[in-house]
């Protein structure tokens, strides 16, 4: 009762990184609340294959549902599992990845349980809440903090009266870490048919095709990102060259992706990837808030922009006033000349 739950997403027997990131966050929240961290995973042929990818992140109890028809994911069976498990376990918090699966499953579960859900949170904290209308005071609610209105404002959302308090978080927003403390590490394998009705398997997956990620933007220590100011798809070629010599990856702002200069899986920002590199080189990026939200934790930010008043310059460590066409080739040239 009253514990913190994390829904674990899998591709076959591979646990999604975002789920591990949420376990680390969930462990902190559970410690703060003095409750246990529980995890729930559902798939086909997962027994004995996923536990080691889940338990080290501080899980006290793992509910592993292993059965035919649970992979590839479809909405109804996974919804039945969570809804019926939550009716028994009465968790106070449930976290899931803001992935295609999490954003399909979360709302369905929240609607079934009439509990509130907040999408794409960027911070999760515990705090008190006073309802000004009802004059009621609540202790230890989950603050679900998320950008709203295209990233122009940040809203703190609470679910005072409904449980579980549900939130989704994008991949890369939280950081995973093996838990140093002692967790109970109990694993149970519930009977799937007790939770899922036979009619739930009605949606058939005819074909399921996932390719390994083409790049490691999220984990790259050096990111070269381009904005609308790059002007064209060809303009991005020099960013790929700069990224190659620096052993980094190329990212893009939403404006550049929308304009077709770069693939959308490289989009950095509130609606794309969140990155925390050592060096972030922003080329022709003006710095809309929704973009900055995805890269502000970079250690060193270098902005190359012909507009000295570009908003991104305010958070940059180095500002180079100049056109990308002039500056980027020089960065490549002088790096090649000076590095060994």
């Amino acid at each position: 009762m009253n514990n913190v739950f994390v829904y674990i997403e899998t591709e076959g027997t591979q646990v999604a990184e975002v789920s591990q990131e949420l376990l680390t966050k969930g462990r902190k929240l559970a410690d703060q609340l003095g409750v246990e961290l529980h995890a729930v995973v559902a798939g086909t042929g997962i027994k004995g294959k996923v536990e080691d990818q889940i338990l080290p992140y501080g899980v006290d109890k793992l509910f592993a549902f292993d059965g035919e028809g649970l992979f590839p994911y479809t909405s109804a069976p996974h919804t039945d599992i969570l809804v019926n498990l939550f009716k028994e376990e009465q968790p106070q918090i449930c976290l899931m990845g803001a992935t295609v699966i999490g954003r399909d499953l979360g709302p369905r579960v929240s609607s079934s349980l009439t509990s509130g859900l907040t999408a794409d949170c960027t911070q999760l904290e515990i705090g008190d809440f006073d309802d000004v209308k009802t004059k009621k005071h609540y202790d230890n609610l989950l603050y679900q903090i998320r950008p709203a209105f295209g990233g122009n404002i940040v809203a703190t959302i609470v679910n005072p009266d409904h449980r579980p308090q549900m939130a989704t978080v994008r991949s890369g927003v939280m950081q995973k870490a093996i838990y140093e403390g002692k967790a109970k590490n109990e694993v149970v394998y519930p009977e799937v048919s007790k939770y899922v009705s036979p009619e739930a398997y009605v949606v058939k997956v005819l074909d399921h095709h996932v390719e390994a990620a083409k790049h490691n933007l999220k984990g790259s220590p050096i990111v070269v990102a381009g904005g609308y100011g790059m002007g064209s798809k060809e303009g991005f070629d020099m960013l790929f060259e700069l990224a190659k010599v620096l052993h980094g990856e190329v990212g893009a702002s939403r404006a550049a992706v929308d304009a077709g200069f770069c693939d959308n899986d490289r989009q950095i920002g509130q609606t794309g990837v969140t990155v925390h590199p050592k060096v972030y080189i922003a080329c022709g990026i003006s710095g809309q808030i929704q973009h900055i939200a995805g890269m502000q934790d970079s250690k060193i930010i270098i902005s190359v922009n012909s507009d000295p008043d570009a908003p991104i310059n305010k958070i940059a460590d180095y500002v180079i006033n100049g056109t990308v066409e002039e500056v980027v080739p020089k960065l490549i040239k002088y790096y090649k000349q000076n590095s060994k």
């Binding site: 591709e11 590839p72 909405s75 109804a76 919804t79 295609v100 699966i101 954003r103 399909d104 499953l105 979360g106 709302p107 369905r108 929240s110 609607s111 079934s112 509990s115 509130g116 859900l117 999408a119 809440f129 679900q144 709203a148 209105f149 295209g150 990233g151 122009n152 404002i153 940040v154 809203a155 703190t156 959302i157 609470v158 679910n159 949606v203 058939k204 005819l206 074909d207 996932v210 390719e211 959308n264 060096v279 808030i289 939200a293 060193i300 270098i302 902005s303 305010k314 958070i315 460590d317 180095y318 500002v319 180079i320 006033n321 100049g322 002039e326 960065l331 002088y334 790096y335 000076n338």
Partner: protein
């Protein structure tokens, strides 16, 4: 022979948050809604296109646009009619105001029940003012229907089963779902067709009652051409429970809203000269920031 489909498109009028200019925030730090044009939510247009294609493929099918919002959201229905929709419904009532996704989906589901015998409910994956992607699945749950989210194309409908290609993380998937069902469409799906000039002529004066002026010079027109009178429903019209609508039907509460202020850094400003760029590279190399 596939039986004709009754399709409802969920569409929302949203502030255009993608093109936020410098005047989008007031000096007090609140959102200046007036500075943001109201548009048809982009992914809802992708959904409308899928619906119109089905209408063309399966004879006798109908497409209706369901939207919730203030009276001016009647524009969304007109935009649908201009592109080939047959009808529309505006859910408008002060009791709907302040709804979170759950209260919104309750209102929409109640209206869909009122419309009745719907084969496909289809909408955009998410709206650009909230980016939550929650309303589609929640409507599906409230109607007890199967859902397919992130759809890119409805490949075929045969024997009351839809075959749909959908986007998933890092790939694609093809699924079969029996009708009736709820589908949400991803922005990577086919773009919507433009307005049809003949339909614009036909429907340009189509309005919901609340949009019309009291001294309407075209009152005769509305009396003689019923298709110009758009459907407008209140909570009572859809037999809704006021407690499940709007603010009172919303489990989530907004505790605080803050303007985003980024911590400005002390930055070094350089020119594009060779000396400055080389100096920077050397500095980064010396400090082992880049290798």
């Amino acid at each position: 022979m596939t039986k004709p489909l009754k399709i409802v498109v969920l569409a929302k009028q949203v502030p255009d948050t993608r093109n936020v200019g410098k005047d989008a925030m007031t000096p007090e730090g609140t959102v200046n809604r007036a500075a943001l044009p109201a548009i048809f939510n982009p992914e809802d247009l992708n959904a409308l296109e899928q619906a119109l294609r089905l209408k063309e493929q399966i004879q006798g099918s109908t497409v209706g646009v369901l939207t919730m919002g203030p009276p001016r959201a009647g524009e969304i229905i007109r935009q649908g009619l201009f592109r080939g929709a047959d009808t529309g419904w505006l859910l408008t009532d002060r009791l709907f105001a302040g709804a979170d996704t759950l209260a919104t989906s309750y209102a929409l589901a109640t209206a869909i029940k009122k419309i009745g015998d719907v084969d496909i409910v289809i909408g955009g994956r998410q709206a650009i003012d909230g980016d939550t992607a929650q309303v589609g699945p929640q409507v599906a749950q409230k109607l007890g229907l199967n859902q397919v989210t992130y759809a890119e194309e409805i490949l075929k409908i045969e024997n009351n089963i839809a075959t749909i290609r959908r986007h998933i993380d890092g790939g694609v998937e093809t699924v079969e779902v029996p009708l009736p069902c709820v589908i949400t469409v991803n922005g990577s799906a086919a773009p919507c067709r433009p307005c049809n000039a003949k339909l614009v002529m036909k429907y340009k004066y189509a309005m919901c009652p609340l949009e019309r002026q009291p001294e309407d010079p075209r009152a005769d027109l509305y009396a003689s051409r019923d298709y110009l009178n758009l459907n407008q429903w209140s909570v009572a019209d859809v037999d809704g429970d006021p407690n499940q609508c709007g603010l009172s039907g919303s489990p989530t509460k907004v505790k605080a809203v803050q303007n985003i202020v980024f911590q400005a850094k002390e930055s070094k400003t350089l020119t594009a000269s060779d000396a400055d760029v080389e100096g920077l590279i050397k500095e980064l190399l010396d400090e082992k920031i880049i290798g």
